[in-house]
């Protein structure tokens, strides 16, 4: 079962490279924020799988909860800021 988790972690790490293209060469600033949010959503699953591999889910799941809250608040605050006084698209 550890081989399955290792292969899944490698595939998920390859998939996480794809929104980084949108983060680098987005036409507007909203596209870059969307790519950052998409990377953050995949990091949650990868971190839980790493916790399964180490056999220490009790420690990693708290980090996953904190990271999920921080990602949500960050995207929401960036959206509210860009609506009021961001640069023109």
């Amino acid at each position: 079962m550890n081989h399955f988790f290792t292969i899944t972690a490698i595939i998920l790490s390859i998939v996480m490279v794809l929104p980084f293209y949108r983060l680098v060469v987005g036409p507007t600033v909203f596209d870059r924020m969307l790519g950052a949010g998409a990377i953050g959503s995949k990091t949650l699953v990868l971190l839980t799988i790493v916790g399964m591999l180490y056999g220490r889910v009790e420690m990693f799941i708290d980090i996953v909860i904190a990271y999920s809250l921080l990602n949500f608040i960050g995207v929401l605050a960036a959206a509210k800021y860009l609506e009021k006084k961001g640069i023109e698209p």
């Binding site: 079962m1 399955f4 899944t8 595939i11 998920l12 998939v15 996480m16 794809l18 929104p19 293209y21 949108r22 507007t28 909203f30 596209d31 924020m33 969307l34 790519g35 949010g37 998409a38 959503s41 995949k42 949650l44 699953v45 839980t48 799988i49 399964m52 889910v57 009790e58 799941i61 708290d62 996953v64 909860i65 999920s68 809250l69 949500f72 995207v75 929401l76 960036a78 959206a79 509210k80 860009l82 609506e83 961001g86 023109e88 698209p89």
Partner: protein
């Protein structure tokens, strides 16, 4: 019980891959918000459910399901807020003929 967990995790990784391909290939910002807000949420729900089933009857499984429920509520909210900010800022939608 491990077979059900493996099937759920494979389905979740498939939907995450489809969402990541949609972020690259779609032509407009609003289409990309559509790809992120639906496909990534479903993939994360399936993967977290599979991991919670594999872990068994433990308190950490309830924490994993709590993360899944919170992300299922929060990820479409963040996507909708970002799209509304772009619309009020004046970003024009993409059309086929080039006219807005």
């Amino acid at each position: 019980m491990n077979i059900l967990a493996v099937i759920l995790i494979i389905g979740g990784v498939f939907f995450l891959t489809v969402g990541s391909l949609g972020v690259i290939r779609l032509p407009d910002f609003y289409s990309r918000t559509h790809a992120v807000g639906k496909s990534d949420t479903l993939g994360l729900l399936l993967a977290m459910a599979g991991l919670a089933i594999y872990h068994g009857w433990h308190i950490d499984s309830l924490k994993i399901l709590l993360v899944a429920v919170f992300v299922g509520l929060s990820n479409p909210t963040a996507s909708h807020a970002l799209a509304r900010a772009a619309l009020r800022k004046g970003l024009a939608p993409w059309t086929r003929g080039g006219r807005t």
